[in-house]
């Protein structure tokens, strides 16, 4: 039996990815997380001195705090299994990646373990965020100085 024949057998038996089911779950749970976030923005606008422009920061921090609690009690993992991208894409997923790595590496000490591994999973997001921001801003600057676009 060669590789190609085997591939056929494997593909036939391996259950297909439930695309539609996954998308619906991601939509509902991702949407729900954003709706909770939206309620928090109203909370900060009404009770604190935040406007719709500035409220993003405290909201993200609060959501990360909630993610920390869910992660610590082992619930975010269960949520992630159901929601997939629905719980990974919101900032709570970023929080979960950071917090779970921090808890996991506690046994290697606070400096080498927690400090060294806290961005093990989420680090690439920061790297690509900063790098892409640099290039996008640079391209925009070049286009503006060439007179193609305006700020």
């Amino acid at each position: 039996m060669d590789q190609q024949q085997y591939q056929q057998i494997e593909d036939k038996i391996t259950p297909p990815t439930p695309y539609l089911k996954n998308i619906i779950k991601a939509f509902l749970i991702g949407g729900l997380i954003c709706t909770i976030g939206h309620a928090i923005t109203y909370f900060y606008i009404i009770f604190f001195d935040f406007t719709e422009t500035t409220v993003g920061n405290p909201t993200a921090a609060t959501m990360v705090f909630l993610a920390m609690l869910l992660t610590g009690f082992g619930l975010y993992r269960k949520l992630g299994q159901v929601a997939g991208a629905g719980s990974a894409v919101p900032v709570t997923g970023f929080g979960n990646a950071v917090v779970s790595a921090a808890i996991e590496h506690k046994t290697e000490g606070l400096v080498l373990g927690v400090g060294g591994n806290i961005f093990k999973l989420a680090g690439s997001v920061i790297v690509f965020g900063v790098a892409s921001a640099f290039f996008v801003a640079l391209i925009k600057l070049i286009l503006v100085s060439m007179g193609v676009v305006e700020w």
Partner: protein
């Protein structure tokens, strides 16, 4: 699951249907003319469903709420309203915002009697609105 999705899908249409009314509130003013004029401007804009106007001395703070599905052009709506009001009352110092924070706070100011307090609060709100992330 299907039923819930269907209901969620339908709800906005009901709300679109019954959202024709506008609520415009103006705080106690001495000048009836400006009062009516500002109401008129806000009423004429069909992108806005609610607005509060606060007069202090020669300042006017207008806090409006754009219809949620038009929120993406919030900045344009603000600019348009500001231009229209300024054209009507050139000697007024006008500040227009579509931010919910300003709308919420001006709602409270409508009831306020103390001129000094109103003026302080308006200053504070203007500063808040200018803040960047």
């Amino acid at each position: 699951m299907k039923k819930i999705a269907w209901t969620l899908f339908c709800i906005p249409f009901f709300l679109f249907g019954c959202s024709g009314e506008q609520t415009v509130e103006v705080n106690n003013t001495v000048n009836n003319e400006t009062d009516v004029g500002v109401r008129e401007v806000i009423n004429n804009s069909n992108e806005v469903y609610a607005g509060n106007a606060i007069f202090v001395d020669n300042q006017l703070l207008v806090a409006v709420q754009a219809k949620p599905w038009l929120d993406y052009k919030k900045k344009k709506i603000e600019k348009n309203l500001k231009k229209q009001i300024e054209e009507k009352f050139p000697d007024l110092e006008v500040f227009v915002s579509a931010d919910y924070k300003l709308f919420w706070e001006t709602q409270k100011l409508l009831e306020e009697e103390d001129e000094k307090k109103i003026s302080d609060e308006v200053e504070k709100l203007k500063d808040l609105a200018k803040e960047e992330t």
